[in-house]
């Protein structure tokens, strides 16, 4: 549904993105992840036909964003990061305007706008001026304008930024409910959001793609070991030695700063080996009190930190500074 090939964008001498390639299958929700200034918004602006790329190509819904921009624009819903809305308009008329501009036929428009307002939970503010709405409502009005024409592809730039936790949950479930019939690409720097909402992820840093694929696969790729958190009350050196002696254990990390209390440890082992039974047996034999034994899921956060940290240590200092510079609109 979205195919991006070797996309490059330069602002003068500054390269915002370089050789970005990825693709999104129909019906998928893909998270576009990266630190601030990594090139997320630039990529989305190109995909939404707001500005042309300096090089490479991008196709959305089968049409080239540059050569067949009108066809693409008919099929997308876009929500820019700043959620720009006409503050002097009321919510209802505003959505009606967007629906009309996007070519929703007159006969269906009223029903469609009402439907979208229900779906985004903004029906109660439909006659308020947009300037008087809270951030949460504005965000939802922005989302409503993106989906009002029932587009094939949704491009959402940080759709949950600035919302309270309950609103975030609402927006996420709304986005999740769009999967299947719509293809969604959403950018964020909130990692749990991606694990909760998205089926795949594209990680971008300093204008280049550093990793992409389904979340599980990425986690496996970057963390080949399984980890277990253990808390054992016992003499620390003996505990460490005992654990390290268990076959399959790769590494034992001492996690607790508390030297005298029970040892809090993280045991890493080969992914296909479950060492919890053996840890229990060891503690039982030595008559140590086993206080906690818990598998630790590898989070996307850690994947992200590992990838981004790895990238940055390899980059020249000047490039890091450029990558962090905000791109002027």
């Amino acid at each position: 549904m979205i195919e991006v090939q070797n996309l490059t964008k330069q602002y003068g001498s500054f390269t915002a993105i370089r050789d970005v390639s990825f693709s999104v299958a129909p019906g998928d929700i893909v998270g576009f992840l990266g630190p601030n200034g990594a090139g997320k918004s630039t990529t989305m602006r190109i995909l939404s036909c707001f500005m042309p790329a300096s090089g490479g190509s991008a196709r959305v819904a089968g049409y080239d964003v540059f050569r067949e921009s009108m066809e693409v624009r008919r099929r997308i819903g876009y929500l820019p990061e700043s959620v720009p809305l006409y503050s002097d308009m009321r919510v209802g008329p505003y959505l009606d305007f967007v629906a009309e501009v996007k070519g929703v036929p007159r006969s269906a428009r009223k029903r469609r706008v009402a439907e979208v307002m229900d779906r985004c939970l903004i029906a109660d503010v439909q006659s308020r001026l947009i300037r008087n709405l809270s951030k949460g409502y504005r965000q939802r009005v922005g989302l409503a304008q993106a989906i009002v024409s029932d587009p094939h592809v949704l491009i959402l730039d940080e759709p949950t930024i600035g919302l309270d936790p309950r609103q975030i949950a609402e927006i996420r479930s709304l986005i999740k409910s769009l999967a299947g019939e719509h293809t969604v690409i959403l950018s964020t720097h909130i990692l749990p959001e991606v694990s909760m909402v998205c089926s795949g992820v594209v990680i971008i840093n300093q204008g280049a793609i550093v990793a992409q694929g389904p979340i599980d696969r990425l986690v496996e790729e970057f963390f080949p070991t399984a980890r277990v958190a253990v808390e054992i009350a016992g003499p620390r050196p003996a505990v460490l030695d005992g654990l390290r002696a268990i076959p399959g254990v790769v590494q034992v990390e001492d996690g607790g700063p508390d030297r005298d209390g029970p040892a809090r440890l993280v045991v890493e082992s080969a992914r296909d080996r479950d060492v919890r039974g053996e840890i229990f047996q060891l503690a039982a034999q030595q008559k140590w009190n086993l206080l906690e034994l818990r598998p630790v899921g590898m989070t996307l956060e850690e994947v992200f930190m590992r990838i981004v940290a790895g990238e940055e240590s390899g980059a020249a200092p000047g490039e890091v500074a450029a990558g962090e510079a905000e791109v002027p609109a």
Partner: protein, 257 residues
């Protein structure tokens, strides 16, 4: 071309914010003041001339009231029109709404024409308000009005205003600051207003060209009742050029992000 929704939106924005109301009120108040002064003067002169059997021969409403009135209206428009158009692109750019507008399935040209027509509608409403003055001349003072010069006068006002709006739209597309847009519009218009004055010091072809470029040179003939193609084409050309430049400016803004 989806001009209609853009047009409706712009018109709605004019009238839901105080902009249109303030401009209408101030414009009509000042225009009314001018009409009052000019018409009052005309009545006084008429009375004096009535004493002199031959004196009133050359005195008529068209020359003594409408022509100076239209000339004065042009000057007010020079000051007011930049305020009508300054918001149109600058505000969209400042608030970022242009990013959404330019990703909707409408061509840049349709956006431009929609906005232009909305501004033109507001302008038409403004000068429609001034139709009260000939009506007053007609009914209250029972003076006769020559319909021809009145009609051409208003055609001239529309053409000139249309040009002012196009220039304003262009200036607004250059910046995200409304004040800058208004000042640039005013500057461009004022330069073309007085450019003919420099013609006095230029000779030959240059002088002719400079004279022809002057707005001042073209706006008086309409009030005299003359519909000269030279003047009509001047305004239409200027308008088309300004709109074309605006379209280019929108496109170049896209490329530069």
């Amino acid at each position: 071309m989806r001009i209609w929704p853009i047009y409706k939106k712009e018109l709605r924005l004019y009238f839901t914010s105080p902009v249109a109301w303030v401009i209408l009120t101030i414009f009509l108040a000042i225009a009314g003041l001018f009409f009052y002064a000019i018409f009052g003067n005309f009545t006084r002169v008429s009375m004096q001339m009535a004493m002199n059997p031959m004196g009133g021969r050359d005195l008529n409403v068209t020359d003594a009231v409408l022509r100076p009135l239209f000339a004065n209206l042009s000057v007010i428009l020079l000051l007011v029109m930049p305020l009508v158009t300054m918001r149109l692109f600058a505000e969209e750019r400042r608030s970022g709404t242009i990013e959404l507008l330019l990703t909707y399935p409408v061509r840049d040209g349709a956006v431009l024409i929609g906005k232009y027509l909305a501004a033109l509608t507001l302008y038409a409403t403004m000068i429609a308000g001034t139709l009260a003055y000939p009506a007053i001349v007609l009914w209250v003072a029972r003076a006769s009005v020559e319909w021809g010069p009145l009609l051409t006068g208003y055609i001239g006002l529309l053409l000139m205003g249309g040009m002012f709006l196009a220039v304003g739209l262009f200036a607004s597309s250059l910046t995200e600051n409304q004040i800058v847009a208004a000042v640039v519009t005013f500057g461009i218009l004022l330069i073309f207003w007085i450019i003919g004055w420099t013609a006095e010091f230029a000779t030959g072809t240059l002088g002719t060209v400079l004279t022809h470029l002057s707005i001042l040179e073209h706006n008086d003939t309409f009030a005299k009742g003359v519909l000269d193609t030279k003047d009509v084409i001047y305004y239409l050309n200027f308008t088309a050029l300004a709109l074309f430049l605006t379209l280019r400016s929108l496109e170049s803004r896209r490329w530069n992000g």
